[in-house]
């Protein structure tokens, strides 16, 4: 049975919400039930942004959660806030760019994806979020790469379809660079 409850959190502008949207669309392509619940409000403008994504093969009850199977964390504030909310035995994936106090919990799996570094090295900053997503899908291949591509096709306007191959490259790069810390 699939029931994956994910929080993706970082700064506004990092592509947090769109990463969640692509993941949710991929879930639909894989015949899953999905929900995508953003934090909305004043904090959206320049501050932190987060989105709760749920993928399940059953009807989804609450789109708002107090505990997560997976937390994908892209800044220190979000790490401080959401690390304690990962379920015991759950997964935390983070990019250490700008992180001064790394995750400390021992009862969860922790992965590092240095997506910001890779993106700037390879001049792929526009698809930074896809690198992160690729890392996540390596750890938990909840949706197939084909369905991510199908989801991108469905969610992006036709004029942006030429960007899809670059996005897929980003996913692959993320899968390569993600490393297990513990």
């Amino acid at each position: 049975m699939t029931n994956e409850e994910i929080i993706i959190a970082g700064f506004g502008g990092q592509g947090v919400l769109s990463m969640g949207k692509i993941l949710a669309y991929s879930g639909i392509m894989q015949n899953l039930e999905v929900s995508w619940m953003p934090s909305y409000g004043p904090e959206m403008r320049g501050g932190t942004a987060n989105v709760t994504v749920i993928l399940s093969n059953e009807r989804i009850s609450s789109p708002i959660l107090s505990a997560y199977d997976t937390a994908i964390i892209l800044n220190q504030q979000s790490l401080d806030k959401f690390e304690p909310m990962v379920k015991p035995g759950g997964t935390l994936i983070y990019d250490d760019n700008g992180i001064s106090v790394p995750p400390s919990r021992k009862d969860i799996s922790v992965y590092l994806v240095q997506a910001a570094k890779a993106a700037s090295e390879k001049n792929m900053s526009k698809i930074f979020n896809m690198i992160v997503l690729g890392g996540y899908l390596k750890v938990n291949p909840i949706v197939s790469l084909e369905n991510v591509e199908a989801g991108l096709k469905k969610s992006l306007p036709e004029r942006h379809h030429k960007l899809i191959p670059a996005n897929i490259e980003g996913l692959k790069l993320g899968a390569e660079i993600i490393q297990k810390i513990r």
């Binding site: 949207k21 639909i28 999905v34 009850s61 609450s62 708002i64």
Partner: protein, 361 residues
């Protein structure tokens, strides 16, 4: 199977409006529902279905534009959020008094006053107990998913025209802003002017020579005539109460403790029920889909085996009054909620349920 899309609740509602053959949307931007008009303006349905989309100068103007178009027999709607809906109350009262079908949507945010832009359910009283002046009722639908944002838009128009009564979709910031999979119903063509004339003989479409003129008004200067009109409204409301109650029962068959919640609170409560069942608590959820007419009978029926009802609302406790009226003292009823834009998590609700159960023992 209809077309599948990932959409925000606000977007699904807007798309459903186009597909339901709505003739006109008149609105004014306000968070957290501005996506409704943004989506409609981008879709530009005047070029496809002929649907009019107009940004008015205020919510006051929006609802009165709806009043005009509805009086002329067209399917007209507006949407807003709490402060804007307060401004519309005058127009809504007139529309109810003139017995016109239309749909208004409230994607509720925290109040009072300018309040907050985060989700809330504190406009329950305003919606189902009046809001504007006079004895009137709005058919009130409470969607709890993006799917229902789409489906209830169509249902709201069907009910509004069936009873010549305004309908309100009482949503909240969570349902408006979240994205889910939605299966869109197939488009229904807009009615032609001839069909409008045929289906709405009362509408002001231009008086034919030799026929009486049509008047859309809520004014009656003779008190006895106004009382008779009020009685006619009450008879209509009784019919709606009898025929149009909709609610969903989850795990209620053997439930000892029943959470009553609507909209996004029903979603968090659904999860809380799962958590409670996992702990061996016989919990269930009654989710009203119509807030007026309220599922009184369904609640009364559950009193046969329920030991208590807990309402979960993002308010200081509003719907709980209607639950208490329905339960009528047979078992304990309590309210749990957060206010001002705060959302109770499933864990919070479970804790409140456990406290409630302990308090009844």
């Amino acid at each position: 199977m209809g077309e599948l899309r990932l959409m925000k609740g606000n977007e699904a509602l807007a798309e459903a409006a186009i597909r339901a053959g709505v003739d006109a949307y008149y609105g004014y931007p306000i968070t957290p529902q501005s996506e409704v008009m943004e989506y409609l303006m981008a879709a530009n349905p005047i070029k496809t279905t002929g649907m009019v989309v107009l940004q008015a100068e205020s919510e006051v103007a929006s609802i009165n534009m709806v009043y005009g178009a509805a009086g002329a027999g067209k399917k007209a709607m507006t949407s807003s959020s709490s402060p804007g809906v307060s401004l519309m109350q005058e127009g809504i009262s007139y529309i109810a008094g003139a017995e016109l079908p239309c749909v208004t949507v409230n994607v509720v945010r925290g109040g009072p006053g300018l309040g907050t832009i985060q989700p809330s359910q504190a406009d329950y009283f305003q919606t189902v107990k009046g809001g504007g002046h006079g004895d009137y009722k709005l058919i009130t639908l409470a969607p709890a998913s993006v799917q229902e944002m789409a489906d209830f838009l169509k249902l709201a128009f069907d009910l509004a025209f069936k009873y010549r009564n305004p309908a309100m979709i009482l949503s909240d910031g969570v349902i408006g802003q979240m994205m889910e999979k939605v299966e869109l119903f197939d488009p229904i063509p807009r009615r032609t002017d001839e069909e409008v004339k045929e289906q709405c003989p009362w509408a002001t479409t231009g008086r034919k020579k030799g026929t009486p003129h049509r008047v859309i008004t809520s004014l009656n200067l003779v008190a006895s005539v106004q009382e008779a009109f009020n009685q006619k409204l009450q008879d209509k409301y009784a019919k709606i109460q009898e025929n149009e109650v909709r609610c969903e029962l989850i795990n209620c068959d053997d439930a000892e403790y029943i959470i009553v919640a609507y909209g996004s609170s029903a979603r968090t409560s659904m999860k809380a029920v799962d958590l409670a069942r996992a702990k061996g608590i016989k919990a269930g959820l009654l989710r009203p889909q119509t807030l007026w007419p309220f599922p009184e009978k369904q609640i009364q029926a559950l009193c046969a085996h329920a030991k208590g009802f807990l309402t979960v609302e993002m308010s200081a406790g509003q719907m709980v009054e209607d639950v208490r009226l329905a339960v009528n003292g047979k078992v304990p009823v309590q309210h749990y909620g957060r206010m001002g834009g705060m959302i109770a998590s499933p864990g919070d609700i479970l804790a409140a349920l456990e406290n409630f159960i302990n308090s009844t023992k």
